[in-house]
């Protein structure tokens, strides 16, 4: 076993990880970047659709183009990285010492490090997690799996497709199947509104005449060898199927796009505090978790709808690592909790100091029109023509806003109010 020493280890080679690795290297930290697959890039590698990099590169790129540019930058920066590196476990030894155990084809590595940045991304919810009963035939794929097959390996999973879930991934996959001549019979969404961005509903469904069944759910799969049909029902306001409303849709393929969950198994083993609303760890404004020196960014922190946000979080965590190492911890007088007020489903980070500028990512719980997004304690108020759960709010809070806040205020409230 080889023993190595680093300032920081970045785990997970997607956009957030690449950004964190570039930034820590730029900041002069001795860092090593680990990826389990044989290539860097993560999920954008298989995203042949546009919508990537509008903020970061100020250009509309495909996922593949975006990630290629980011990897070029990484190579130029001279980041040390290892592919086919599987993180077996992370041991917490001390405030400034962790051991990352890594399995690689060249042997086991024991990496001593002061800090760790988790950019392990998300996993997809599968058919059993969303409670679909019936047969278990072939022809059922998660959206990401179908996308890998189609856009990395050029394989068509099936030709008569039903998609469960109208999040961006589901919508984009509906279009991908349609573009390859497959018949997309329906996109089934349990909620009364689509889960993805409005532009994707337009460009992926309406432009291709793909029916969107809102307030419907797949109750059953039927098929001996391969999917033969699915049974769909309307749901009531508690999202329970209504008896007697069932109907069948013949198809050979069922694509599950029922949302993503931060993939944080290793962090859970480190016993970080997890926020049930994001499924990711509770973090401070440098994206440090409840375990000192352990940072998290990208979809492992919170499910983002833009890659640019994941990149931004990766860079922020890198800066946090630098500050942690220089100061032996993140220096702060008081942490103030962000309270989720009216109509706020989630907000990240969970704690802010008010001593520096901070970017707040949040999601609302229901769609609303003509509202103010407010933090009354610091006088933050922003008008919006419409807020939707599908669209993440990104709010920049300048440190000057906190100046009038007295030291004993340990909580500020994010909320949505009607105009």
């Amino acid at each position: 076993m080889k023993i190595l020493n680093y300032d920081t280890v970045i785990i997970g080679g997607g956009p957030a990880g690449i950004a964190a690795a570039i930034r820590t290297t730029e900041l002069g930290l001795k860092s090593v970047f680990l990826e389990n697959r044989d290539v860097l890039g993560g999920i954008p590698l298989q995203c042949v659709h546009p919508g990537f990099g509008l903020h970061y590169f100020r250009e509309d790129l495909t996922g593949t183009e975006f990630i290629t540019r980011l990897i070029d930058k990484l190579e130029k920066t001279g980041v040390e990285y290892i592919v086919k590196a599987y993180v077996h476990s992370v041991e917490y030894k001390d405030f400034d010492k962790k051991i990352v155990n890594v399995i690689t084809p060249r042997g086991v590595l024991k990496i001593n490090t002061k800090t760790v940045v988790f950019t392990t991304g998300a996993r997809e919810r599968h058919i059993f997690e969303i409670g679909v009963v019936g047969d278990r035939p072939d022809g059922i794929y998660t959206a990401g799996e179908a996308q890998t097959l189609m856009d990395i390996y050029g394989i068509l999973p099936g030709k008569e497709v039903v998609i469960v879930g109208s999040g961006d991934v589901g919508l984009i996959m509906a279009r991908r199947f349609a573009l390859e001549g497959a018949k997309v019979k329906a996109v089934v969404e349990i909620l009364p509104y689509p889960g993805g961005l409005m532009r994707n509903v337009m460009q992926c469904l309406i432009d291709f005449n793909i029916p969107l069944l809102l307030q419907h759910t797949v109750v059953k799969v039927v098929g001996r060898k391969r999917v033969e049909r699915i049974v769909v029902a309307k749901v009531d306001k508690d999202l329970k199927p209504i008896k007697g409303t069932e109907f069948e849709i013949p198809c050979d393929t069922l694509v599950i796009s029922a949302g993503l969950r931060p993939y944080i198994d290793l962090l859970e083993k480190l016993e970080v505090v997890v926020d049930p609303s994001t499924g990711g760890p509770v973090v401070n404004e440098y994206l440090e978790t409840s375990v000192p020196g352990v940072f998290v960014a990208g979809n492992a922190l919170v499910i983002n709808d833009l890659v640019d946000y994941a990149v931004e979080q990766g860079e922020l965590a890198a800066e946090g690592v630098k500050i942690f190492i220089e100061n032996n911890g993140i220096p702060t007088k008081t942490w103030r909790k962000i309270r989720k007020g009216k109509s706020i489903r989630l907000a990240v980070p969970h704690m802010v100091s008010g001593e520096r500028d901070v970017i707040l990512y949040a999601r609302v719980s229901i769609p609303e029109k003509n509202v103010f997004v407010e933090i009354p304690e610091i006088g933050f108020k922003m008008f919006s023509f419409g807020v939707r759960p599908a669209e993440m709010l990104r709010l920049r809070l300048g440190k000057e806003m906190f100046s009038k806040l007295s030291d004993n205020v340990n909580e500020i409230t994010l909320e949505v109010k009607p105009r």
């Binding site: 076993m1 389990n36 086919k84 599987y86 077996h88 155990n101 399995i103 690689t104 084809p105 060249r106 042997g107 086991v108 024991k110 996993r123 997809e124 599968h126 058919i127 059993f128 997690e129 409670g131 009963v133 019936g134 047969d135 278990r136 035939p137 072939d138 022809g139 998660t142 990401g144 799996e145 890998t148 097959l149 189609m150 390996y153 050029g154 394989i155 068509l156 999973p157 099936g158 030709k159 390859e180 001549g181 497959a182 109750v219 059953k220 039927v222 001996r224 060898k225 391969r226 050979d252 993939y263 198994d265 859970e268």
Partner: protein, 498 residues
């Protein structure tokens, strides 16, 4: 005494019963054994989807089912040797039959009587206080339990794989994806079986075809009234990191139709709850569907067994199996004079998994006795089979050594269960060696890749790629369970349209 140079035996059904018979027969000289299954791989029928319990056998009434009781007891003993010889994952935690009211207590105490009759060791009633010490995860409504320390849990699908691998090492031939249409009989003698791959000659045909055993028996012209009812059992499997995982086997007090609902921690570390017991129409022999009602029922029953049941969002799999239920619950184990050479090992419902090794011994003895054949032991028979080498079971030091010899152990393809490329390739080789078909499901059951929280969404394509490389077939032609992973390349539909 009938003299034959070689005895040709065809076993219909490579489930736990058929495989066990093949293993026992393979220890004798001058027997050619052919194990036939309709599925692509072994153990894909009732043997795959069951509660995985090795029963203590205090639930078998020797006055009603003497053979069941005897073979169950013997099987419980034999499994302890078999799991060691064949390296089958197993544990022996003992079981607690929970009672929550005086009616249930009365029924539980009746099994104490049966335990005495069957001489099941260690069975006793424990009160609430002792119960909580034996199993801190029990529910709050429990009054006490009947404790049976000899109960065990095995991995049933791996058991079949291990037994078949061992049998093949000892000369058994396996034919998968082969559908037996008919037992051919002429002038009171079995000639062989007619299959989807043609006629196969055999002196003896052993019908161990599980849920289809009635049909096979009918084609041999015997037991024409014998009908097997498919009794469906639904199960839910939770993620391995849920916080309620009983050490002991817990189950509700049985009613005549079923052994009750169980809550166990499987040998792979998952909380499993089930089964239901639902008799399906006689021809619903393929209906492995789960239902909302079934899932709700087992979860409700589990609330009696466990201090808390994890939320449904932590379920990682729901599945169902069909148990072959014979008339009156009576196993049909019979060697026929007419037609000579036909053997039924049919209707092997619970405790069939427990009894399987003992059934196998019994059947071989019965054949010898009925046909007055004396089989001679092989000198060269190997009773051992090695399990896969697994990165997930090894310390980092051991993994490092493995990688030194073979770098493929250092390439992890299943993140949830730490399964390496080397293991996937070994599983492919093992499948080819027994003569089964390579499928993604077959790899899953051998390596555990896809058993974890993501249920294969991260690793299925990676494993499919390894199979495609190894077998030299296009990625889309890799078989998932029974059909291909993809239908063709992405432009195929446009080409077809033009």
């Amino acid at each position: 005494m009938i003299f034959m140079d070689r005895l040709r035996v065809a076993i219909v059904g490579a489930g736990i019963v058929g495989a066990s018979i093949a293993r026992i027969l393979s220890s004798y000289q001058n027997v050619d054994i052919l194990l036939i299954d309709r599925e692509p791989d072994v153990g894909w029928g009732s043997s795959k989807a069951n509660t995985s319990i090795i029963h203590p056998c205090h639930e078998e009434d020797p006055r009603v089912h003497p053979l069941r009781a005897e073979l169950c007891l013997r099987g419980n003993k034999l499994w302890r040797e078999w799991v060691e010889e064949l390296e089958i994952p197993a544990k022996w935690p003992g079981e607690l039959m929970i009672f929550t009211d005086s009616d249930e207590e009365k029924r539980a105490r009746e099994f104490l009587e049966l335990a005495k009759m069957n001489k099941v060791p260690g069975v006793r009633v424990v009160d609430r206080e002792e119960l909580k010490i034996l199993e801190p995860n029990v529910g709050s409504v429990v009054l006490g339990a009947l404790y049976a320390p000899t109960a065990g849990i095995i991995s049933p699908f791996e058991a079949v794989i291990a037994i078949v691998e061992n049998a093949v090492d000892n000369g058994v031939k396996l034919l998968t994806e082969t559908y037996v249409e008919k037992v051919r009989v002429s002038s009171g003698r079995v000639l062989g079986v007619e299959t989807s791959r043609g006629f196969i000659e055999a002196d003896i045909v052993i019908n161990a075809s599980g849920i289809y055993a009635d049909k096979i028996s009918h084609t041999a012209g015997v037991e024409l009234d014998f009908k097997i009812v498919p009794r469906r059992g639904e199960y839910v499997l939770f993620d391995e990191d849920v916080d309620v995982k009983p050490t002991k086997i817990l189950h509700t007090t049985p009613i005549p139709r079923t052994k009750g609902v169980y809550a166990i921690t499987t040998v792979h570390g998952n909380l499993m709850i089930g089964p239901t017991a639902e008799d399906l129409p006689i021809d619903a022999k393929e209906d492995l569907s789960t239902t909302v009602e079934g899932v709700e029922y087992v979860l409700r029953e589990a609330r009696k067994l466990l201090r808390s049941v994890p939320p449904k969002s932590r379920i990682i799999r729901m599945f169902a199996g069909l148990r072959p239920e014979p008339p009156g619950g009576q196993w049909l184990i019979k060697v026929y004079e007419d037609p000579w050479g036909f053997v039924n090992v049919a209707g092997i419902r619970s405790p069939g998994l427990t009894a399987a090794p003992a059934i196998a011994e019994y059947v071989v003895k019965l054949i010898e006795d009925t046909y007055d054949i004396k089989l001679a032991r092989k000198n060269s028979w190997s009773r051992f089979r090695r399990d896969m080498v697994r990165v997930g079971n090894k310390s980092l030091e051991e993994v490092d050594k493995l990688i030194e010899k073979n770098p493929d152990y250092g390439e992890i393809v299943c993140i949830c269960k730490s399964v390496s490329k080397a293991e996937v390739l070994e599983a492919v080789e093992r499948i080819l060696k027994i003569g089964a078909k390579v499928t993604l499901d077959g790899i899953k059951f051998r390596t555990y890749a896809g058993f974890g929280k993501c249920q294969g969404s991260f690793c299925r394509w990676r494993i499919a790629l390894l199979i495609s490389e190894k077998l030299g077939i296009p990625l889309n032609e890799v078989v998932v369970k029974k059909s291909s992973y993809g239908i063709g390349d992405v432009k195929m539909l446009w080409r077809e349209a033009i």
